[in-house]
Symmetry: D2
């Protein structure tokens, strides 16, 4: 299919999640980034656009201008990724939805209920669609888990334990990422918004259950912190299942320890994001099974590489390609990329192994 | 930088490693696939090219024609990926090297010593470069390990234990992947070529050691198999280090269990490919350390996402983008992609959590 | 030192925890079981006593009689283990304490507050001591953890996550163990008493923190169950630390999944009972360390075998001794115990390995 | 049954394996240690005997005297444990076998072939039995594995990978344990004798296969070491299975990393000693199963505690008993043993949890 013409709001130099969105958009070759309002700082916006090879005419100073201009072009963007801090989602989301351009928006939806309502209203009336990147739902085993719950492998779900623990905010921290996330105005909330919503969404995605009520205790543990950085939450799901949710950004020793456990009448599931190609599944009274992404006993959908190759396999591969590109362009040496010598060594290995084996294990010199 | 114009030989519909190469080339946006001789079957070649959106004029029936034609174009390819079975590496590699086009070739180098020598000769005289995709060397922690050995963290290396175990050939197996890999003519060797060379290369890459000699025993365990499917090999490295290598395609329960352990005078390293974002490092007499990709105590080079997000994180993200693209193009429903409802639920979660917490944990209904 | 003369109340044939207490008392050779009121069923009491080799005169029909009689003997018991269901702790505990005999009592203390108060009163006035077998505090790494918190390795404790998950009561279950544990009268409570108290105790033992308040939700998930079988509890510790506790007996796929995580200002600890010889410890900003029982970086107290030999090593060893005893007594064959043939094979192995190695790896036949 | 009267040769103060044998003999209460020749140093022998509570008349200066004297007593020992260095096995083994006393001997059998032959000859003619403590065969899951192979769960065994890695001899080391183990005269061999024989024995025990031939390379890696400290060995089993064995005492970061993997036509097993209560089992084409000691899908024989309680559970329990004994005898404080306060806290926890839950999660103060 033709690549979808994509724009981006936010994601200029120094941003983290914008770069992730761009890679994600490239992996399957279905999108082409052609326009952007990459930064509220004009200089940074232009520099970022140049680095990404955007047509300077399509590097905009504001999302509003971008929405207007792109909607007017015959070859205008069909979709836009919004990768700004939370309090800057609503403006562009509404503008692009109103312009009939599909919106792919980072989570959480917004910083305030009012902003969220505005987006919802625009989404309800736009012919364009709105997508929210609760990206953990894209892991193959999470979709596998959802399918297993849906088809009854666990029986009725009874207990949900979900947690997302980090430690990067265990002390007072100041940098581009931390600053807006710990500012009540820009973020709207702390750990519960930044990672708690992921945990909540993941549990709902896999179980298919709807929230009935919650009971929470939020903590601001680091002295002086203005948003929550730890949260202990109980959940009641419609139909009777009970949940416990923990979100923390002060749990020393945790990087992105998102973990979901679901227990039903007949079975239990356990998945952790940091080793996402593996999930355990237990049927009551039977040995625990280890399911691998695309491996025995799973559907194998949503995978790009065979079982046993973690998904990061593609990135390892890509690093070689990247080094090669740099070498070809003269911006790098590709000094770590195997070349003809490695190939000849491999050939020697094969022959020598065959020769040694034929000679009862005689040592063959290189 | 401008994208590098890339061609591909092999990798048509039904192939595995060709698709991997294409994704790897896309991830960092440094290449653009513009030409191909994707299959020796003309119909499949054309269909594959169409699927990839190649200009039909640049979908060639043979690599020879492709090398000639592309070398003659002003906008001809600058590099080519060769992703054919082993015995079909030498032909295109030589042709493209002679045409001055950089070659990115899958491993092992070739099926026979003669083919390997031909490639080496062409590489020696070409102005173009030759790269071999021993892709496991692209994992960030492997490059980290190499750097640690090089700077002396382990002291002089004494013992190397490397293994690559699979089970997909544990029985007589017939399919596109298995057929050429178990045919001595097409593959040249069995497990030692297909995965043993990876193990050997990885050990050498990390330790920087050169092979002095090997002693091998190859086994063809499955009745009727014409190539080795299990290998027990001892290695002697220059300088005195000793190695043990195991390659197997009949080890039931293993998917792609490549594991490298390196022991030196002062320290030891342990890394396994199936969870590649984690590596253990022990200094003699101190507690084992768990190093994570880009995490505390590592350099953080060669990573695209922060610690704790396994590299597969990008693919999970990409799956959402892919679903969104399908929805926009009308070829899918994006039924699994979170939308406005998920966003509103997240907003409720944040507010409800704050309200409940302020009320000493009172239950807040949805 | 002389062995302490020990009695036991409960623990007759078919009981579980009584046998555990007896083994625990034997391991270090500091106790000798010499008396018992092993069952409320006289026949079972006598048979159990005979099986254990007790003097029939010291096998009692009731704990009351036992307390009286043993207190009167010059060689009477010095201590008694009480291993009855919860509602039968108070009677014997009070009786033995009043008789001046030390009490080692299984947990929880009692089935009702009244019973607990009676024990506390007796303990307060007795010259004998009262011990409660919150046995998980005996794991070497738990004592190590306690010492680390106490000496400030984690800084001030902020967050405590503790859980104990089982699945053996995931369905309606009837057997000797389940029956009293799910009977409100005998047990007093369900999961919170049986395993939740362990979790609570462990968290307090390691952190040294005192409970200030709790907020709980108890669930009786299996239809018809009269006690709680799942519990979601929030804890407030004096000094400000926050805790989350989960106890479940319906979490399919969990056997005895007791896990404690403690997060402080400077560090975090993670320990799980099912692999108790390993604990992770993270200092903020440094790689996670893997501490092993008695291994590098730990004190090595409280261990009987060196690092790397899990504590179960002793039981494996004991199994050989047990088989040997059975063979000597003619009640078994010791068919699985290695004998002279295994020894001779080992000797061959040593010599053959030396000979082969001296001959550059020549194969040496057996 | 009556306890078996046991003697011990070696195992005096400062010894490691003697203490292990004594604990192993006590755990199931089937032996009573009544005599010993605990050290070749008379003073240490006497002191050791006193510490163990032996009758001084039965603490002997030599094994020869002990064999003579005990054989002459009506209540003489029925069995003897020999826990001396390797070169001192043969003397006592022959003496006790000739005296009609069962022998439980530590491994390897002896330091030289001549010594081994002498033991074998004595064993062949004695009415007493000879047992060799290849103790790893006593792990429940190892016996489970053996049963699974025997009943055909794996099909015909094809490949055996066994390894035993330590690091305690990674540098030149001098202490009681290291000195005799690195002395060719006392030990007869290095890593291959001390741990390689365990690996070999374990592989044979589980697979039931007999060795046909081996090919070895032994290394003395630490400068000046007179015995092997690393070994790379290939094995051929009768019937065609192939094996690879690695033994090392210089692999930094390994404590007692004994691991066995067995691959057959239909299935594969993976077990590691450091977490011995867990074993993975894969049937070809099915998800990997995690078998736990006594857990679902296993026989449950040879276990003393239920699944999920690692075998070390008993030692944790025993530590409490030991502390209690010390407190009762006045040689310790039992300061870490929970008492009435812990019990009362547990009772509060139960009530408070019930009360809070009944009040919709209201906080209940302690």
């Amino acid at each position: 299919m033709d690549r979808i013409r994509l724009g981006m709001v936010g994601g200029g130099q120094g941003a983290f999640i914008g770069a992730v969105h761009r890679i994600a958009a490239r992996i399957d070759g279905k999108f082409e980034l052609v326009a952007g309002a990459l930064s509220s700082d004009p200089g940074r916006a232009a520099a970022s656009a140049a680095e990404l090879g955007l047509d300077p005419a399509r590097s905009y100073a504001s999302y509003a201008e971008m929405a207007r201009a792109e909607a007017a072009r015959a070859d205008g963007i069909e979709a836009v990724s919004i990768v700004t801090p939370n309090h800057m989602h609503a403006g562009p989301a509404v503008a692009f939805l109103e312009a009939g351009i599909h919106v792919i928006c980072d989570k959480p939806l917004a910083a305030t209920p009012e902003q969220a309502a505005a987006i919802a209203a625009a989404a309800a009336t736009s012919k364009a669609r709105f997508f929210l990147t609760h990206n953990y739902t894209g892991y193959p085993l999470i979709r596998q888990a959802r399918a297993m719950v849906a088809r009854g492998d666990l029986g009725r779900v009874r207990v949900v334990q979900v947690e997302y623990a980090q430690d990067w905010l265990a002390t007072e921290t100041h940098n581009k990422q931390a600053d807006w996330r710990t500012d009540p105005k820009q973020a709207g909330a702390g750990a519960i918004g930044d990672i708690g919503t992921h945990a909540l969404n993941l549990a709902g995605f896999v179980t298919g259950l709807e929230i009935e009520a919650l009971s929470a205790e939020l903590h601001s543990i680091v002295p002086g912190r203005l948003v929550d950085d730890n949260a202990h939450i109980r959940l009641r799901y419609r139909g009777g299942a009970k949940g416990q949710l923990w979100a923390s950004q002060v749990a020393v020793g945790n990087e992105n320890a998102l973990r979901l456990r679901v227990y039903g009448e007949k079975g239990g599931l356990d998945w952790a994001q940091e080793n996402p190609n593996v999930m355990s599944f237990s049927r009551f009274g039977e040995p625990k099974q280890i399911l691998t992404r695309g491996g025995a006993g799973t559907g194998g959908d949503w995978t790009r590489v065979p079982p046993g190759h973690p998904e990061g396999y593609l990135e390892g591969f890509a690093t070689l390609y990247s080094d090669v590109a740099d070498a070809i362009r003269g911006t790098g040496e590709a000094g770590l990329v195997p070349g003809i010598a490695a190939g000849m060594e491999g050939m020697w290995f094969i022959q020598a192994a065959q020769e040694s084996s034929a000679a009862d294990g005689a040592w063959i010199a290189r």
